[in-house]
Structures are given as structure tokens and as C-alpha cells.
Amino acid sequence: MRYLPHTSEEIASMLEAVGVDDLDSLFSTVPEECRFSADLDLPEPLTEWDLNAHMQALANNMAVSPEYKVFMGAGSYEHFVPASVFYLLGRSEFVTSYTPYQPEMSQGTLQAIYEYQTLTARLLGMEIATASHYDGATALAESLLMAIRVTKRKRVAVSRLIHPLYRRVVHTYFEPTGYEVVELGYLENGVTDLTDLDNMEDFAAVAVQSPNFFGCIENFQAVGEKAHDRQALFIASFTEALSYGLLKSPGSQGADIACGEGQSMGIPQTFGGPALGMLASRKKYMRSLPGRLVGQTKDLDGKRGFVLTLATREQHIRREKATSNICTNNSLCALAAAMYMASVGGTGIRELARLNHDKAEYLKRELKNAGLAITFDDPTFNEFVVEFPAGFQAAYERLLEKKIVAGLHLAPYYPELANHYLLCVTETRSKEDMDSLVREVTS
């Protein structure tokens, strides 16, 4: 087997050094009743040649771009990634290293993550950011728990226009804790209804997503003011990090914590994971942050260097008193995002975000001109909700056969929105793709 380097002579001499007769005897401390004596019922090994064929066959059994025109976002976005990002990310010194527990040998990962933290803080308009989390949903759950730790209150308000799957993750995390999640409804124009907050007491945080699940841009400023009036934290959530290339950042509008998904920045969709949970906050909450942090310091000669820091908050030291159980981050995904932000740059990210916005506006306008109803009036980023005629499901299936995925049906998530679909357009969809979608849905 090519991954196992031992020759039989080496095995024999090592067994002799250990003082046992054969490989089985190495397991003398495993009691007889704990031994598994049969062979595992697994497929026999494939050669690399056969493995390639098998995996290619599986991969071929998937509907992906460019063959399929996918107009679906909802938390996972198709964006163009420069070849240089894939190339650099594949460097084995990054890929095959572990958590940088020995900083002198891990300055590459550590400086890269420090830079990621900085770029993330700048993108979100916040002071500091963590070294990353599993995904946008877990980053939101951890942010809400953080707000509960900071305020010592036990209830949180969460907009219904936060990604429905993120809210389900929050409920999973909250179930055994006894903390309460109150959901805020939405208004006719497609943004969160904040009036319920006026009657709520003692809540730790308000979490609102922008652009929200319907693609609409929320008024973060107003949410922040309401939260701060009640000494609660304002958590800004997002699924499309790229939007802040154009839109006002959460931090500039009063967010105390900004958290969400960074997949848009250089990370392949891969059926949803691995993804990139981004989490940033004001500096004063530094010691309440969950997860890993990298800090700058100096070495014995006064040279700049980087280390994992503030570990006393974490499980390694405080064990049951730890602020969260997170052990790993999504370091390589954070690195991809940093490489992507570095490649696009400040000028490029603004132009790219604008292009995403403008393309979606084009499709929105064309659908409207074709007589379809655009459900919500408020400005959107690269996603929007459209109402198709009753019975559209059959047409949707027909479009799939023509290799067009006409958005996400919203009824399973918002039962009140039957026949409503969430459509997404990024820079990867051409005018021609959009024109043919309009032709097909109206024919």
C-alpha cells in the first residue's frame, strides 16, 4: 500500500526492538472480549486509476455550472475565483500543517490568519475578528451565546429574515440551555418588523441579517439604536460577505458583533461545506469572543511575529468553564478568503459588488417587464423574491431538464409565500443566461 512505508524487514526489526512476536501481539492490552476478530465489511482497495474513474462517475452525476445555469443563492453563491487563489491555497505547507501550537514553525499560517482577521475587521467595519468559525450559522449561534455572556440576560430577538437554516442551528444550540429565542416578523416591503422590540424586556441581543434572506437591505442603523436603547447588543448577520464591498458595513452602522458566511470569497460551494464562519466585534468584547485568535508580538530579538493568543478563554485551560467548546477553526477557508480579498483589493471588491448588484437588478427589471410580480419593494443586493403564477412547480421541473435552476422555492421555509421563489444573480451569470431564463419562465 503506497501510503505505508514499512518493508517487512523493517517491521521485523521494529517488533524485535519492542519485544513482541508479531503485529497482533502489539495489542496485548486490548482484552479478548474487546477484540474484533472478523474483517471489516468494506469494499476492497481501488487502484488510483480505478478510484479516478469511480469518483469522476460520481462527480458527473451532479448538476453544476457551466453546464447548468443555477439562479440559486440562499447562502451559497457562485463566484469567479482566480486561478492564483486555488494555486496558492494548494501549497502543502498551508494544507498539511496543524493548528499553530508551535509558533516559531508556523509563522506562515499565523501571519496569514492575522492578516485575515484584519481584512475581515476592515470589510465589516469592526475593530477585531476571530480566526474563523465553521460556517455562518454556527457563527450566529456562537454570537448569540456571546451576547448572553456579555449582558447576563437570557433571551434573544432574531429576525425571521435571517436565513431559515441559520435559525434552525440557533434553536439546536439553544435547546438544552434554557435560553429563549423570540422571532421578529417582517413587513410588507421585505424587511424586519422591529415593533415587537418595544414590548420586550431584558433581551441580550437583536440579530438582523442584511442583505436579508429575501435579498433586501435592512436599516442596520435603526436596529442598532433600538438595541442600544435597551442596553442590548446588536448582532449584524449576513450570508453574502461580498455585499459589503458596496453596502455600508455593519460596524459603521452600530453593530456590536458582525457574523456570517464568507464562502463568497474564494471558497468553492462544495454542496455547502467547508464554509467560512466570520465573526467580528468591538474591541471591548475581546475576552468574550468564542474561538481562536491570533495576535502580534515580538521574538527574543525584537522581530515581529505572531502567536495564538488569549487561550485562557478557551477549553484548553478552563475546561468546563470555557466560553465555548470550539477547538478547531476553518483556517484554510479563512486563508482562501484572505487570498481572495488580497487579489480583488479594495478597488476591485467595490466594482465586483456593484456588478453583482446591477446584474440582479437587470433580471429583476426584465421579469417585471414580462409581467411577473416582484414581491418586495425595498432595495436588494444580488437576490430577490419573485412570484410565479400558481402551478409554476411543473415549469420549474421542465426548466431543470433544460439545465436551468430557477431559484429556490420559498414555501417550505415561509409557508405564507406559496409560488414565491428566491432568485440569485452573481457576476457569473451573463445577460444571455438571464434573457433565456426570462424567456423560459414566461413561455
Binding site: 496485548s28 482484552p31 471489516l40 475587521a121 467595519g125 460556517d135 475581546m286 478547531t328 476591485g348
Partner: protein, 485 residues
């Protein structure tokens, strides 16, 4: 940029990202604009974030240089105990980057994602087979996330029976994250000490197990690298009081095909695909922490679950007692593909062989280093062995000094000061992918360092000398944190 780029031969300097570049450069080619501009209302937009503008070559040189300051498994031996830094086969990377997988949207209809669903379904089956359990979920994003999932499953199980238990037994030889995962689910961890053999005694568990205790979180093999010989009886005691046995499977690399947790009394366990199943760690993640369960806990697994009927794969939400969702989508599919590719490359016999050779390598190191370093528990170990700095304290040399000196010899240091049960611990896990020659070199390096400790301790105190930076001031980093530039 003040410093010169070339520092010393191939030891290259590199500034921070934003100390490079010039306004107006770009390393990205923007797609053609084929629609007109549609301005957004005033008050919604900003000038754009303050990211540096760099050309492609700026970016490429930056990260190429950074990568050269990093040590990975591909660079050399990385014997980080409990982390299982085995070689990551390159074919795995190729499979995970196939456009059909990498470009797949997670909310595609099942009919359009049969390939990935089949892979996930089969991987679930394989993991259940390896662990001797009945069902698996692939959703948890990392080992600690798997632990949390396991705790939520236990919570949901008791809830379904109208019970609420408040405690959980966590041995001192369990992984560091275990108590925190339990605490997140409202359980108070009850610490239990291992015996003078470094394992759990039946009596110690019998003493603390009661009807208010949800169960035990045991790590087997434990963090001393020892097999919990009494696991069978311990499971009986826990079960007799209605408790559940959770096994932290981070050390599964030692026992594939040797012991099946489901057959020795374990009810729920997580695996680390980024340890046992050869997926790379990426400098600290992404990982993947599938959870395997016995029948009784299956109804509580996270949704959606991947199901198969007549060769057609689908996702089902139809599990009313499920704990819910652990991640927005289906878990770290990219990591799953790599683990799947590994299992398919290895087959049943090679997986068992991998465990045997991992254990052989660790025992070989244990035997050859035990005169040089103090061996914490002198008995057959599994995939890792734990020493301490006891033999070196007379020379005022601590574990950390030896660890740092190892860098000058071209090795990544082992895990140090963990597990906490051994004072000044040095935990070495070679894994099965290290050859005898490389291990012999590692042993020689350690022996030389021990010799230096007696002869010239300053060499160790000053180490490392051949890295990009010398010892870093971690105290100042924590006291006056600087987390962004």
C-alpha cells in the same frame, strides 16, 4: 516597506499584506459588464472597505513566502500527539476538487445531486462499519462539534423519556474539549482520576455513576495512548443506571479493525476525518466530526439525513425527534470526499494495517527513548506514548526547551504539557506513515538533545535558532493583545 526582502539566502522577508501594493492595482480580472448600472439609493452604500490593492504577482509572492515559514506533514515528521498528523494522500485533493463536487449548490434538488449523496450515504455506512455502530451523521464540522452533537443527542434521548439528568463523568485522560461540550448542554462534568496504570478503574466509575448522571465521556484509547482495558465493565455499570457511554473517537487511528466501539459498550461516538481518515488539517481546519450511534439514539440524529431507496439517494427531514441542524447545510462535504477517497484506496485490510503500524511506530519510539526521557507509564501503548521532562529537570531543562530545540533538528515538536495528568508531558504520535528511517532520525535527534541538556543547556534555552523567528513573547501578546493591523 522598510526592510529588505532577501534576508539570508532562502530565509525570505515579507511585509504585512497592507504594507505592500499600490492604489489602483488589481490581481483579479473583473467579468465583462453586459448590463447597465442601476444605482442604489443614497445612504445605503459606502466608499468600499479599506483593502489593499495588489497585483497578481504581489499576491503570489506574498503567500508563497508565507508558506515557506510553515511546517506541514509534507515538510517532515509532525509527531503531534493526539492530533494524528498522518500523510494526506494527494489523490484525495484531486477527487475533492472535481468540478462536479466543488461546484455543487447545497440546495440543489436531490435528483440533481445523486453523486454527492451517494458518496455521503456510502461514507456513513463505512464509518458505521468501522465503529460497529448502527447509523451515522456527517454533519458536525469538527471533532468538538461532534462532541457537542453527541451531548445534544444524549439530552434529546433523556428528554424523550421525560428525564433530565444533570451530570456527566469525564475522566482526566479525556480530551480537553469534552468538559466544555458537556457544559454547553447544561451538564456538569464530574471529573474522575485514572488509576496508577493510567486507565480508568471499574471502582472509580461505580463510585460516581448514579441515576442523575447522563453517562460517561471516555476517550479510548485515552490521551495517555493507553487502551481503556476496563471499558466493557465500565459500560455495564453506566448502562445499569440508565446512562449512555460516549466515546471520543479522536484516537481511533490506533484501533481500526482491531476493536469496534459498538461491540464494547459504546453508544455514541465521534470520529475525526481530519485525523484518522487522512484529510489534511489546513493549519487548524476545516475538520469534520461525524457521529456514529447505536439504534436507540438514531431517531435523534441531526437532519437532513441521507437516505437510499432502490439505488436513489435523497435527503430526509422526517425525523420528528431529531436534535435539529448542526450546520446550515450538510457538513464539510469537501472533507468527506477526501475521507471517502482514502477509505476506498485503503480497503479493510490496509485500514487495519495502518492501525497496526501506527501502534508499532509508537511502541518502537517508546522503547528506544525510554532511557533518555522519563516514561510516564511503562506499559504497552497504542498509537502515542507519553514521556515527561523528569530526567532533565536537574539540568534546569523543561519540556518546552526540548520541544523548541527539536525545531533546529528539522522536526515539528510533539504535543507538550498535555495530557495534564503527567507533569511536563511530551506526547509523541508518529502515525503509520512515518518510515523506520525517519523515526530513527527523530529518536537520534531527541537523544542528542538530551545529551546537550546535560552538556550545554544554553543550546536548548536559546532554541530555536534556525526558524524564521526566535522564541516569541506570548505573555505580552496576551497582556496587550494586538489582533488587527
Amino acid at each position: 516597506m522598510k526592510e529588505s526582502l532577501g534576508a539570508n539566502g532562502l530565509i525570505l522577508n515579507e511585509p504585512l499584506l497592507w504594507e505592500k501594493g499600490k492604489k489602483g492595482r488589481s490581481g483579479f480580472s473583473l467579468p465583462r459588464r453586459d448590463v447597465e448600472s442601476s444605482p442604489l439609493g443614497q445612504g445605503l452604500t459606502c466608499e468600499g472597505p479599506e483593502l489593499p490593492d495588489l497585483s497578481e504577482i504581489d499576491v503570489v509572492r506574498h503567500y508563497t513566502r508565507l508558506s515557506q515559514w510553515n511546517f506541514g506533514v509534507d515538510t517532515g515528521m509532525y509527531p503531534l500527539g493526539s492530533c494524528t498528523m498522518k500523510y494526506s494522500p494527494k489523490t484525495n485533493e484531486k477527487q475533492a476538487s472535481l468540478p462536479g463536487f466543488a461546484g455543487a449548490h447545497p440546495l440543489l434538488p436531490a435528483a440533481l445531486s445523486q453523486g454527492v449523496l451517494q458518496m455521503m450515504f456510502e461514507l456513513q455506512q463505512y464509518l458505521a462499519e468501522i465503529t460497529g455502530m448502527d447509523a451515522a451523521t456527517l454533519q458536525p464540522a469538527a471533532g468538538a462539534h461532534g462532541e457537542l452533537t453527541g451531548m445534544l443527542l444524549m439530552y434529546a434521548f433523556y428528554k424523550s423519556r421525560g428525564e433530565r439528568r444533570s451530570k456527566i463523568i469525564v475522566p482526566d485522560t479525556a480530551h480537553g474539549t469534552n468538559p466544555a461540550s458537556a457544559a454547553l448542554c447544561g451538564y456538569s462534568p464530574v471529573p474522575v482520576k485514572s488509576n496508577d496504570q493510567g486507565i480508568l478503574s471499574v471502582e472509580a466509575i461505580a463510585e460516581v455513576m448514579d441515576e442523575n448522571t447522563a453517562g460517561i465521556m471516555v476517550t479510548n484509547p485515552n490521551t495517555l495512548g493507553l487502551y481503556e482495558e476496563n471499558i466493557h465493565k465500565i459500560a455495564e455499570i453506566v448502562h445499569a443506571k440508565g446512562g449512555i457511554v460516549y466515546c471520543d473517537g479522536a484516537n481511533m487511528n490506533a484501533v481500526m479493525g482491531v476493536t469496534r466501539m459498538g461491540e464494547i459498550g459504546v453508544d455514541v461516538m465521534h470520529l475525526n476525518l481530519h485525523k484518522t481518515f487522512s484529510t489534511p488539517h489546513g493549519g487548524g481546519g476545516p475538520g469534520s466530526g461525524p457521529v456514529c450511534v447505536k439504534k436507540g439514539l438514531e431517531p435523534f440524529l441531526p437532519v437532513p439525513r441521507v437516505m437510499e431507496e432502490n439505488g436513489i439517494y435523497g435527503l430526509s427531514e422526517d425525523f420528528p425527534e431529531s436534535v435539529g441542524k448542526m450546520q446550515a447545510f450538510h457538513g464539510n462535504v469537501g472533507v468527506m470526499i477526501k475521507a471517502y477517497s482514502y477509505i476506498r484506496s485503503m480497503g479493510p485490510k490496509n485500514l487495519k494495517k495502518a492501525s497496526q503500524l501506527a501502534v508499532l511506530n509508537a511502541n518502537y519510539i517508546k522503547e528506544r527513548l525510554k532511557g533518555t526521557l522519563h516514561l510516564a507509564y511503562d506499559r504497552p501503548c497504542m498509537h502515542e506514548c507519553v514521556f515527561s521532562d523528569k530526567n532533565q529537570t536537574a539540568h534546569k531543562i523543561a519540556t518546552i526547551d526540548m520541544a523548541k530545540r527539536l525545531m533546529d533538528y528539522g522536526f515539528h515538536p510533539p504535543t507538550v504539557y498535555f495530557p495534564l495528568v503527567v507533569h511536563g508531558s511530551i506526547m509523541i504520535e508518529p502515525t503509520e506513515t512515518e518510515s523506520k528511517e525517519d523515526i530513527d532520525q527523530f529518536i537520534e535527534a531527541f537523544k542528542t538533545i538530551a545529551n546537550e541538556a546535560g552538556r550545554n543547556p544554553e543550546l536548548l534555552h536559546d532554541a530555536p535558532k534556525r526558524c524564521k523567528v526566535r522564541r516569541l513573547d506570548e505573555t505580552t501578546a496576551a497582556r496587550k493583545p494586538c489582533l488587527a493591523g
